[in-house]
Amino acid sequence: MEKGKRRGGSSSSGPQAVARKRDQFPSRAKDYELLEPVGDGATAVVRRARCLPLGGEVIAVKIMNMSQRSEDDVNHASEEVKMMSTIDHDNLLGAYCSFTEGETLWIIMPYMAGGSCFHLMKSSYPKGFDEKFIAFVLRETLEGLAYLHRYALVHRDVKAGNILLDQHKGVKLADFGASASLYDPMINRHGKRKTLVGTPCWMAPEVMEQKEYDAKADIWSFGITALELAHGHAPFSTQPPAKVFLLTLQHAPPSLHNTKDKKFSKSFKQMIATCLMKDPSKRPTAQHLLELPFFKKVKFEDNVLKSVLNKLPSLGDRMQSIQENEAKLQAEKKPLDKCKEKASQDEYMRGVSEWNFDIEELKAQAALYPDENDGGEDEYLRFLFELDTICESAPIHDVQSRDYSKNENEKKGRFKVTVEGAEVEKLEVATPREKELLERIASLERIDKRSNVMPTATVAKSKYNPS
């Protein structure tokens, strides 16, 4: 009902938005003609394709290779597909059908010609989008998120890379690879989960700390995504996962600041601030967010998407040019930077489903980034400047000391965070809250040393001796 009300002028009225029924799509690989790749991840590739029996209708197919995957991963994939085939919302990317072909799993989905917001920024909007466009995209995303939350589903990987665009099909939140149902037996009796999943930069503090979390974790990620769309990258995006954890847990939440090129409205800044409350219970629900003035004022016109998507080359071409650019950049870079770039890129690609809290690996990655590293320093400091003073319960004092003009040593001491030996360097000023967090991280790492958080799939088989 609420969908119909506002859909008149937007997505569903497009000429190509003929609703296809699931059973119209054949479940045989030979009925599809594969075209160019339009997205890839560590475990799957997404290609544009034509469905031959349906007159060559263009669709997207996600092809996952299962041969290298564990038993758990296979079960995971089947949960993802089941969820994709039982959702029915304009702002969520569902599946038409799925089937296996050899050792691969194929998921047939609507083709979103605009690609993801992440790729769009990489190819054409490196400094992020304007506020009007962001408001539209976020509002649509929020509608999808509100639907998921109504069914007690937590997406767990909200980020620009999972927001897909299409001139006719509108905005769709994709990739349920990490999502989980709060109703399933994995949860405790309070209906909250405790597994560590998410992509580090977008991960809510309570998820990092492995406290119980629920749909509010998505709201945090949504706030980070808003910053990502505004600036062209997520806060801390150049940092290795270990540092992202520490920065997120230790410091005041990131917030939106005007930049040289762009001014943002107060309502936008406030919306982000409410999403990025460290205390999940203080964050609004998706439904409540939709009531904020920032979203209420959004007009539904096709031309918001059109104006951005119209003049762009095709998705396949853009993907290729992104890859070429990256190859060129890689070639110019120093070896150390290459590693970093690769690590950060991998981290993004891996996304939630793949996230594995292997502390040794985190440390190895963190070691790639010497503290106060050479070239990255400016970038690093810029992020620190973006940190704002939105205080919740305890005031956090470290904000004032962030100043280029301050004594160099003091500044460094302030932010030097290492995970070596599960010890975090002593800070000059530490609030009780900070201390507590640092201790928590230290203990978290001790636990992780003993056992990986994400249990590996090997099921111990008892040695059974028949006699």
Partner: protein
Amino acid sequence: MKGLFKSKPRTPADVVRQTRELLIFLDLHSGSRGGDAKREEKMAELSKNIRELKSILYGNGESEPVTEACVQLTQEFFRENTLRLLIICLPKLNLETRKDATQVVANLQRQQVSSKIVASEYLEANKDLLDTLISGYENMDIALHYGSMLRECIRHQSIARYVLESDHMKKFFDYIQLPNFDIASDASATFKELLTRHKATVAEFLSKNYDWFFSEFNTRLLSSTNYITKRQAIKLLGDMLLDRSNSAVMMRYVSSKDNLMILMNLLRDSSKNIQIEAFHVFKLFAANKNKPTEVVNILVTNRSKLLRFFAGFKIDKEDEQFEADKEQVIKEISAL
């Protein structure tokens, strides 16, 4: 009607009663084309009611469920045929309401009224509903909803036993291999649950139905051309045979030359995952202290090949148990 409900808060039993009335209406007027507007209105009302049942049972995000309300709801739900109506009418509901209904039915399976699980008693008296749920795998539209309801129902031992002993068990060999991955994997999850959850019941089923069951299992699942089917089947076989409650069945399985041949072929499968799972079953043949002659003969005939194979058989991760098992197998085969 709406005004009435606003003025007076309905009890959980009221919500169940009204849901039931609306379901009866929907059941009776399913085909009728006239009165479409009226039907639409009733459908909307029904969706609202089912959503309310869900929020009573699960809480609404802001408040936790209240035990007393859940008890009232459960009692009223099973006092009459609400579950039957809901299952029968499910295909007529919209997708969102189907999901709500599925979650309601799932939750009801765990609700206790004076320390008795009412749902279990109801299902025992209405076993034909399980037939309906299982046949859902033949209808793409409702397969996943019926499938998840079914998995909740077989949490009850008596209900799992009914399904195991029914002719439906044979149909699962088809459902598991349906071309649609989502439905096939749902059927496969149910199949696995049936064969692993209630140990004693499973052991009894496997002993009684040994011949046809393993014949189907070997020829259709372990020899399937579908990679995922084959992989999940060999894993399930290992889980079943390695369970102590199934030791009699396991002894029978590892005494067969035909079974051994199938497992030895799986050891040579192109997929490492399948090889490893096959090894966990193969080791039982080797470790058997009373190997029948035909099994010994095959092992002896292939001894050098097997030993060469195991010399190069490694897994990526370090696994002490695996290495110890492999050593044991090598020792057994060498000593034959």
